[in-house]
């Protein structure tokens, strides 16, 4: 039994159903992220757990007790909002102490707890400041301290970092994770940023159209996506169109080059299919494996341009009419191709996945339009 359980939750506003029949279980002490684009129902789901919205149907259990109709003030969950929502008329100390004061915690204990919280967020010297005197990152730290000061059963965070600068975002997400680990508190985190979700979570629930596409560890979600949507939403993807030439052997014709896959292609004879390969699964082919090796495919494209992403370098190539990305680790020894150079790349036959025709994809990494490489 999970610590927080959602049973077939549905939420409709007027004639618009935002969350459909959603079920999920979060184990105690785990960090789970709802990841999805805007309008996928992730925030509404979190707000239902917090109690700010009431499910149209379905049940929410916390520690086995049905809380679906319990008002937010009685749920004992900590919440952190996107816009910090610090009380502007109170100092940092008073903000953190607010929940304790409401709970009538004795003054001495309250002060001790506030001090402890200030130390936890490394803001011991800011206790007497007012929210408007703090930076966004500091305000969000205080909001976090305020939420956990009351020792809630679970912590809920609604896109807490999306209003912050990139650098502070990365730093603060590590802080959030560390504090969560330190306290061992069950945490549900809403974000639209896949990198953020992957770096911070034990579990990710990828959401689309009010439902969950897949729940799994970041490792599983990335490497064995359950649906094409998940595959395309997480990370970058090369999308290649081709025709099945030999279903039994898994052979596909891509623009005149035959590649092999480990997918079961029976029933697709002669049909158009789509294959996906992650950019990091591609490498520059060595001269000697001229298509003979049994477990790799080789294809030849022309270089378009090179994008520096920091630790990696992304080669943008044109293969027929399709753009492809290949990621390589950055190093000073790297030989960069010039535009128009021919590049021969290889990838393992088990690196490509079959995308059934018509299956929805989030946002192709490449292949469909050249907008992506501009």
């Amino acid at each position: 039994m999970g610590f927080i359980e959602l049973h077939e939750i549905t939420k409709s506003f007027a004639n618009n159903t935002v969350v459909k029949n959603l079920s999920l279980s979060v184990e105690e002490g785990k960090f789970l992220s709802f990841l999805g684009g805007s309008g996928c129902g992730k925030t509404t789901t979190l707000r239902m757990i917090a109690g700010f919205e009431t499910p149209t149907s379905g049940r929410i259990l916390i520690e086995g007790k049905d809380v679906s109709r319990v008002p937010p003030a009685r749920r004992n969950l900590g919440m952190v909002f996107q816009n910090y929502a610090l009380f502007p008329n109170m100092t940092v100390r008073k903000n953190i102490a607010f929940g304790l004061k409401i709970a009538k915690v004795p003054a001495q204990e309250m002060h001790a707890r506030v001090d402890e919280m200030l130390a936890l967020i490394h803001m011991e010297n800011y206790g007497d400041r007012y929210p408007h005197q703090l930076s966004g990152g500091q305000q969000q730290r205080v909001a976090l301290a305020r939420a956990i000061a009351v020792r809630p059963k679970a912590l809920l965070l609604d896109e807490p970092l999306s209003a912050l600068d990139a650098k502070i975002r990365v730093q603060l997400r590590d802080d959030i994770r560390n504090i969560q680990q330190e306290l061992g508190i069950t945490t549900i985190y809403v974000t639209h940023d896949q990198e953020e979700a992957m770096s911070i979570s034990d579990q990710i629930a990828v959401m689309r159209n009010g439902g969950i596409e897949q729940v799994g560890t970041p490792f599983d979600i990335y490497n064995t996506p359950a649906t094409s949507y998940v595959a395309s939403f997480i990370g970058t993807l090369n999308l290649l169109e081709g025709y099945v030439v030999d279903a039994a052997l898994g052979k596909v014709d891509l623009n005149g080059t035959t590649v092999r896959t480990v997918s079961d292609l029976r029933g697709f004879e002669g049909k158009k299919i789509r294959l996906t390969v992650r950019p990091e699964a591609l490498s520059v082919a060595r001269q000697d494996d001229a298509g003979s090796a049994s477990d790799v495919n080789n294809i030849t494209g022309t270089a378009e341009r090179v994008k520096f992403l920091g630790s990696t370098v992304r080669f943008v190539m044109k293969f027929g009419e399709t753009y492809m990305f290949m990621d390589r680790f950055n190093s000073s020894q790297l030989v960069l191709p010039k535009k128009g150079d021919s590049i021969r790349v290889s990838f393992a036959i088990d690196a490509c996945r079959l995308l059934p025709e018509g299956d929805a994809i989030a946002m192709p990494g490449s292949g469909v339009s050249d907008e992506m490489i501009q």
């Binding site: 917090a50 109690g51 700010f52 008002p71 937010p72 003030a73 009685r74 749920r75 004992n76 969950l77 900590g78 919440m79 909002f81 816009n83 929502a85 009380f87 502007p88 008329n89 109170m90 100092t91 607010f98 929940g99 409401i102 709970a103 007012y130 929210p131 408007h132 909001a143 305020r146 939420a147 009351v150």
Partner: protein
């Protein structure tokens, strides 16, 4: 002193000429940012007007207030201010302003809250805003007529209460031409004014504050006590002072409702000007000065309270 001022002016004129000479070409001078001293000249007509028709005439009352009728300096007018009837008229005016600012302010606040944050259909807010604009401008003579038609001795509501419900409000001590009648009438324009001026402050109340306080276990009452009211306090104070002043200076409504018979300061000043009773312009000056003095006090009190209430702001 005069000399040096003159020199300064000369110097700046010369400087202006030099700079235009340097940049050369009138076209350039036109497009370049104007020298600030020249820009200040553009404000002269406005300041001359405001001084000529507001500051100096009002200031001349100050001088008049310190003069006897024969023009000699005297404090006699101020001693007249302490006559019982004048003291009482100040008291009535202050009480009237206070009651209508508080009543209209509270009532207007509830309505503004209802239309801003109460979850009412959207159209209602824009209707109420327009209507508040109309109603807050609907004052003076027509407003007095409207209340005479409603709550006067022959007013429809008065008659309705008497014939249908057997309640005679005039028997019960109500008099439209007295204090409470005037208060009820003033509140008619105080409410919509409050609705208009408090709306921006209510719009700045984040719904997350309420949610965060609920999430931390607070009740609705605790939210208002610890967050809602403290956050709104500076705006509420400002609105209250504005409403107070609005009622304090109101002449037209009181004049047309009571025909100049109620003992409030604006009516008293009007009477001094019109020479209706005991024509004593110098007393009038002192009365007017008293009004300005009380309004100034109100503003000072306001800015002091404001500073305390808004410690947490910039």
């Amino acid at each position: 002193m005069n000399d040096s001022l003159h020199k300064d002016k000369e110097r700046s004129v010369r400087k202006g000429a030099e700079s235009s000479g340097k940049t050369g070409g009138a076209l350039f001078v036109r497009a370049a940012p104007i020298v600030t001293s020249k820009a200040w000249l553009g404000l002269v007509p406005f300041f001359v007007f405001i001084f000529a028709f507001m500051i100096i005439p009002a200031g001349s009352l100050l001088i008049g207030a310190f003069q006897r009728n024969d023009g000699h300096f005297s404090l006699v007018n101020f001693s007249k201010l302490f006559r019982p009837n004048i003291i009482s008229s100040y008291m009535v005016t202050i009480r009237l302003s206070f009651v209508t600012a508080l009543g209209g302010g509270l009532f207007g606040f509830f309505i503004a809250y209802a239309i801003c944050l109460g979850g009412l259909p959207k159209g209602i807010r824009s209707f109420m805003s327009t209507f508040s604009g109309v109603a807050s401008n609907f004052a003076g003579v027509p407003l007095a007529f409207a209340f005479i038609s409603t709550l006067g001795r022959m007013g429809l509501v008065t008659v309705f209460l008497r014939t249908a419900l057997g309640i005679d409000i005039y028997e019960g001590g109500f008099n439209l031409y007295g204090f409470w009648g005037l208060a009820v009438t003033y509140i008619y324009f105080q409410i919509p004014l409050m609705v208009l001026i408090i709306q921006p402050a209510l719009d700045n109340m984040k719904k997350e504050w309420r949610e965060a306080s609920e999430n931390l276990g607070a009740s609705s009452l605790q939210y208002w006590l610890h967050i809602g009211i403290p956050v709104l306090l500076p705006s509420l104070l400002a609105a209250f002072i504005l409403l107070f002043g609005n009622a304090f200076g109101a002449y037209a409504t009181a004049f047309s409702l009571t025909g100049g018979l109620i003992n409030i300061v604006p009516i008293l000043i009007g009477a001094q000007i019109r020479g209706d009773v005991l024509h004593d312009p110098n007393l009038g000056y002192a009365l007017a000065l008293g009004m300005v003095f009380i309004m100034t006090l109100a503003i000072l009190a306001y800015s002091w309270l404001q500073r305390i209430a808004s410690r947490w702001m910039k």
